[in-house]
Amino acid sequence: MVHGELWTVKELFVTPNEYIYWSIQIVMYPFMTGLVAGAFVLSSLYHVFGIQQLKDMARFALVFSFALLFAAPMPIVLHLQFPFRGVEIFMTPHFTSAIAAFGIVFFTYGAIVASELWFLYRKHFVEVSLALREKQDRTLGEQIRYLIFCTLTLGVYDISEESLHRDEKAIKFLAALGIPVACFLHGYAGFIFGSVKANALWMTPLMPVIFIMSAIVSGIALCMLTYIVAMEIRKYLAKRKRAAYAGLQSQDQLKSVEISVIQMTAKYLLAFLVAAISLEILDLIFRGYTALKSWDVLRSVIYDRDFKTIFLMQYGIGNLVPLILFLIPGITIRRAVLGVLLVLFGVFMMRWNVVIGGQAFSLTFAGYMHYHLPIVPHDWETVKEGLVGAIAIFIMPFALFTVISKIFPVFETQKAR
C-alpha cells in the first residue's frame, strides 16, 4: 500500500499522488520542540533576569528541558521512511532546507543546555564522587555510580568559592545565549512550515513567531504541571515521613512555596498565551481580508470542515477557558492544574490544525483530504505513525526525566537528606 493511503480519505478533486504524508508524528514534533524551548526560556527567566520567585522552578525547568531535548527529535526519526539514514543530515547537510538546520541548531542548543547543567551541578558531581572515592569496598552499583560521576566532573575537582563564582557567571551567560538559540530552535520549526510555498495554509512569515509564542506557552504549562505533580509527591512524603526526617520541609512550608511559584509562573504563561492568540487571530484576519486565490478553500476548511478542532477545541477549550481560569483572582493548585492541562491540549490542537489542517485540502483547491489517525496498530507503520507512537513519544520525556533526575537532583532537600 502507498504510504499515506491508509489514513487518507479523498473527497472531490484531488490529484493522484496527494495523501496526508505528514501525519501524527509531525504534529508531535513541533509540540515536543515547543516544550523544550519553552522549558528553557522559563529557566532562563531566573538565571538571566534574576526573577527570584522562579528560583525553585528554574533548576527544575532546566533539567526537564534536558530530558525533553532527547525526546524532541524522536518524532521526526519515527516519521522517516529510513530512520537509520537520519544521520545523513549531519553528513551531507543541505542548508537551503529548513530541516537541514535541525542537526546544527539542535546540537548547538543541546551543547548549551548540557554545559549550563554541568556548571549548575558541578559542585554536586564533585561532592558525590569525592564521597564515593573515600568509601572503601564499594558495591558494584556504587562503583558504576562513582565512574559516572568522575566522568561528569570532566576532571575538575576545584569547588572553591572563586571557581563557583565563575560557574555562576558561566550559567548566566549560557542562559542568556540559550534564549535566542531556543527561540531559533523552535522558530525554525515554524519556518519548516511557513516556508512551504506550495501550501496555502502554512505559508506565512508569521508562522515562526506564532510557533515560538505557543512553544513558550506549552513549555511553561508543562513545567508548571510537572512541578505541581512533584510538589504534591513531596507534600505527601513530608506528611508521612515528617517524624523520621526532621530535615524535611513541612507540608505547609511546601504548600506556600508551591502556590507562590505557580502564581508567578502563571503570570508569564498568561502573557505569552495572549501574545500567541493575538498572532494567530491576526493571521486569520489577514488571510480573510486579503482573500487570495486560496482563501475560498481555506475558508471552507477553517470555518466549516475543521471548525470543531479549530474554534471549539483549540481556541475555545484550549485558549479561552484557561485564560478565564487564570484571570480569576486567587488561583488554587487545582485550578492551575486544570488550566495548564487545557493549555497543553490547546497547543497540541494548534499543532494539529496547522499540520493536518494544512493537508486537509488539495493542491487543486477543489478537493479535500480527511485524516484518520490509526488507533489500533496492525503493522510497524501504524505503530510508529499512529496513536501508539504518539503516546510513546509523549511519555518519553517523563521517563527520561526520572532517570536524569537521579544524576541531576532537582530539589535542594534531597541533598539535605
Binding site: F90, T92, A111, R122, V156, D158, R166
Partner: protein
Amino acid sequence: MKNHVLRPLFVVIGIVVLILLARIVIVPKDFGIGERGYMYAWYRKSNEEDWKKFKVKYMGREYCKDCHSDKYDAIKQTPHAAIQCENCHGPANDAVSEHPSDQRPKLVIDKSRAHCLRCHFPLPYPTSARLKIRGIDPDKHNPDMECSTCHNPHQPMEGLK
C-alpha cells in the same frame, strides 16, 4: 588546569571532530556540488549514471518492424497508424514477460473491451479531440464480446472479420 570554564567546550569540540571524522567514512567520495550550484545540485554524482542505466522497456514500433513487417505496413494505412505496437501488446523488453527459450519477450496482448474504450467510449467534449473519435455504447454494443472478435485492430476500416 586553572580555568575549568572551558571544559564543556572541549567536549563539544571533541564531538564535532568525531562527526567530521564520521563524514570522511560515511559520505560517498563523489558527493559534491554540481553545475546547478549548492541550492539545486548538492548530490552524489554517480546517481546520474544509476538513472541512465535504468532498463528501457518500451522499444517503439521500429523494434518490431523487421519480423512483423506485414502488420507494421498494414496498420500504417489505417486510422490506428499512430498507435504503437506496445500500447496493446505490452512492453517489448519487459523482464517480467521474457520468454526463457529464445530470449524474446513473451508479450501479453490486452484484448479487453476496456482497452478499446480508452478512445472509443463516446465523450463528445467540446474543445477536446475526443469529440472526433467514433465511439460505441459499451452497454448496448455486443456487451459480452471482445472487440477483436469482429474488428481487426490492425485494419479497423476493412470491415468486420
